[in-house]
Symmetry: D2
Subunit: 361 residues, 4 copies
């Protein structure tokens, strides 16, 4: 279904950018998990607008109210519903685009699909919906950390042409959160921030790349054939607004490699006796199933569609016109998309962890 994902850790989101609020229902989270609302809030704060000068100035506190599924601080195994009220909605800012299709946005395609749409702030197509995913991901985060010791960490790897140098195996959350861009390469981060500022000044926007690693994932996660972990991770990332590309391990680079170079030889780890690989070009997956090595992936993000230069476009009733956007918008999506990518990955891993338990408890 369009607004649900996952088989056993099942997340449904609802809500529009300028309606009463947004939220999610997480069905299938195991019982007995001590759920810390502060973890949810921390992730929401990393995604929320107005957090730095690099982002939109819309002010949303994004407080998540837990409506159900938690009793005396623990999950009960029943659906966890979370509600985030919209507080700083300013629908009047969107009157101008009620009948105009913004290039690069879903205005035209929603009308093509539904015959009508809530135009205020993009309605359901708004990236505001991803706050609900982040909240759901923060629940998955706690389940995976407590049960398996899994850590999922994403970061900004490129903004436009500015690219960072990152050691996937060693990067830490503190390094990511050390700057507003969320790039753990401090020097690159500074150039990225400058680039974003300059692009904004030009009334323009810019794309970027987000990298991500999942550590501590046990071997055996991911189903063969259609529900490979790679496929489900790709699905989760590509379902985030503005995501246009996904790769696992070496990704597109692997297309230029030879088998003798790309294959990761196995060895037995001294001490643990675990089957390991010394390099990890596979990105932690073989045949779509986790090897126990770090899962590494990268995602590509198009420039934000809302720039502030004049564009030619058409109206709902088929007239050509011009449009110049107003309002509060991010010049670059990647700093705020970092926790969204983490949430996407966390939900998939939680789902597959439960699926493996069903198969082999």
């Amino acid at each position: 279904m369009s607004s649900s994902t996952g088989l056993l850790f099942r997340v449904t989101t609802f809500g529009e950018s300028h309606g009463a609020g947004i939220g999610c229902v997480v069905d299938g989270c195991p019982p007995g998990l001590a759920l810390d609302p502060a973890v949810i809030q921390t992730d929401l704060d990393r995604r929320r607008p107005g957090q730095s000068r690099l982002t939109t100035r819309r002010k949303e506190p994004d407080r998540a109210e837990i409506l159900s599924g938690v009793f005396e601080g623990r999950t009960t195994g029943t659906p966890i519903a979370l509600l985030i009220r919209n507080e700083d909605a300013d629908p009047s800012a969107y009157d101008a685009i009620r009948d105009v299709y913004r290039p690069g946005h879903a205005d035209f395609t929603y009308d093509a699909r539904y015959g009508l749409r809530d135009h205020r702030g993009g309605g359901r197509a708004s990236a505001r919906e991803t706050a609900a995913r982040v909240a759901a991901g923060a629940i998955a985060r706690q389940f995976l950390a407590v049960t398996y010791g899994v850590e999922v960490l994403a970061w900004v790897e490129a903004v436009g042409e500015v690219t960072a140098q990152i050691d996937t195996g060693r990067v830490q959350r503190a390094e990511v959160e050390a700057n507003a861009v969320r790039c753990p390469d401090a020097e690159a981060a500074e150039r990225m921030a400058e680039h974003i500022a300059e692009v904004r000044k030009a009334g323009d926007t810019i794309g970027g790349v987000i990298g991500c690693v999942a550590r501590g994932v046990p071997a055996g996660l991911g189903a063969p054939v259609f529900d490979k972990l790679s496929a489900d991770l790709g699905h989760a990332c590509l379902s985030i607004p503005a995501c246009k590309g996904f790769e696992i391990g070496r990704g597109f680079e692997a297309a230029r490699m030879r088998g003798t170079v790309h294959n990761d030889p196995f060895h037995v780890e001294a001490g643990t006796g675990r089957v390991r690989t010394r390099k990890n070009d596979a990105g932690g997956l073989l045949g779509g199933i986790s090897t126990g090595e770090d899962i590494t992936l990268r995602t590509a993000w198009k420039p934000v569609a809302t720039h502030f230069q004049e564009q030619t476009t058409v109206t709902r009733d088929g007239r050509e016109t011009t449009l110049r956007n107003k309002g509060r918008h991010d010049p670059c999506v990647v700093p705020r998309a970092v926790p969204i990518v983490e949430a996407a990955v966390l939900m998939v891993l939680a789902d597959h962890a439960l699926r493996l338990r069903a198969l082999r408890p």
Copy 2:
């Protein structure tokens, strides 16, 4: 579920590389469709082993028997089951790897997941399973062609460092099928064939890139949020063995672009009155929903894991050892993967076409 995909055009595959056979059940194909077995066979022939000197020498006729769901040449709306018997299975060739994990293969991860596995030819993890997808895709192809005039066409865009020049808007099936590499750029195709031959001679393998276009897709396909067409297409492609990357439209290139450049301005097409874009950097999707423009995507393929040089690895019982593969294998997967990518895309489009019908008949 691991072996099923799609909500309304639902495909389930079964079978192992060296078992009795492989097959699929297609549930949800609308009734009354004149189903031409020759179209299924043509697609199977494009995927089957032994079709050229570039591919494995395993000889499989890959004849699909229609077991159900078709009556007097037409679909009845009930499940269409297809069975392809394995005929040239040679399980003895795999005795050597019964207890050894081949690097780059799913041997280790299947054992980690299931605690046992059918090791013969990779069992369920074998790319042989994709023949069932190709058969299912050929049914989707006929449904989409008859009902909407949709055409889906894939091709080889790169083999290792050899890259083709392709005009996505104009490329034709005849050009793709004109050579064994399935690259419509004849000059590049020749160099690719040479490259593959040289790699094979070295006992090595090589990766590649496959491009794909879907033409004639009506606007409005693709569900918001989790089931964006981009997400489902990514899922479908990334679930094919050896696929490591996926991008829609400009993909990773979009990450370096500015919004003023990337956005596709709308205009009204003279004559038809349709809302169109003159360029298509979005790749035919906005907000995950089809615009009516060509849907364009690219996929990255790792080098085949089975090369013929010695590798270090470990056994099931945890001893380090060396391995040198034998048997019949492709040095490069992309020529045979072209119809598999088409099948993946076709299944997703058929599913979403039915979903749109439910919403707005």
Copy 3:
């Protein structure tokens, strides 16, 4: 999933009896439907506690707030989330049963399943959850009425040994709502009310039977094999707390009939040319698919588990004890379950109506 139902008209409910509130997300309702909140409220009022002297004295206004999916009075095709706050929760009334398993309730089985539970008012197992289904059903009701002219009507057919005489083909909503028991046979209704009063006086509870008819359902709804309309209707009704039996058409009576008597002969209706049957022992379904005749079904309801006489039972830590319930409870569930049965049937019909559209638009 445990808290979702339906393939295309997909309903997810959340919430506990004494938590913040309950609610639902309806995903898949077609766009453009003028949604009248009053219809939702009317159905909620029919289910809500405290509506008559026959029901529990808990006072819940059961106001549904529409959080999403509706814009300017019309559905947008995106998820419709509804929230009903709990207002008259009195969790202290349940302190006594925190560690005691009430016979006939889900206390023991929830602990067996989850290892912990929200004991307040039955938590998630409470029939309070059904308010969310009623709200979702009221959306289905409007979709089906506007699109197909479908009407779904349920009524009380028996309370204990008191049985009503009802002409399924002619019964009207006004007759059902004419009395607090919701029995359209006024004379039987009076005896039922007396019976309930007497049972309550004795500190006891009593079971009953609810009948239901769906009129105007087009022929062709219901999928073959596992998703027969009969199976999905049975599933929907049997998933309501306290429902212990379900029959379609003649049901258990059919088990005593001969084929020559049970079969409904076909004829061609004068004027319309429609294929009809003069009697309808099949209950409007053949092979699990609707015939276009009235769909008729009956459901059996066990007596409410909370009576006020002393019972022997055990505690969470395995001691035998006795229990005498206190609090506010219905002596008989059927008068309030009437709108719940309607909602269950409405959701199934809406789902299958959409499924038929996908197959044959």
Copy 4:
């Protein structure tokens, strides 16, 4: 989906009565299970036509070929596909009904749904499809027996007005299989056989009732709200052709009972310390979740629609006509439906056993 059921133990069936064959794909059966084909065959033999003078004379050996998912006698965790060829199909017997709607059959409703149908022997609507369910159920049977010690046993409880006396708690398979009617009350079985013979002689058919018990089911199976075990069991049984009613525990009788009588008091079992009930009016379920007591259910079966007296009906093109059936048919469905009910129950229990493992391994 119409031809699939179950979330984790997922069964898809395919095939028509007079096509190439029927079969199923079982996806999700845990790996490592020693699968005995003889158990599958035994169940198929109990369902197959021609097994006694009470059943149709169609001769089908119903041999199931295992196409996949089993390696060296053990399940691999990948899809198990089973194929049963149709051998004694006699489609010419159905030429007469190609364009005539048989009363009581799905001919008219399939045409209404699909616009065309495979009329031979009822096509997909034929009870022949249930052989595939029986084969899938036999896999579930082995999984549940080995893993949990679960036993599922059904029997004929009534044929027309002839009713048996059965002690649900003690009845054994040998008693059920001791006669062709599959009624463990030998005296009643004899009268049932006479009744069926007499009905057949009259060119008529007769309905019946099947009872079923599931023993050894652990407490905690069954999901709250929509996927109650009662709801899923009802769904599974009501999806079998000719099943018109379902009840769990006391069922419709409970509607006439008082709470003080119906509630099963809990006690602590000496020795084991298990929470038990001395009587089991609940039928082994509270709140839709298993208590650990026997799960008891009953199902109602309409008389076979194919009798041999003249009936009035209509043709596809809307003419009224008369019809007298010919061919090979059962006069009463219940003796052969016993293993089908068991299969339905087994599939649901296997699915929920896996679901509980995911939640609490």
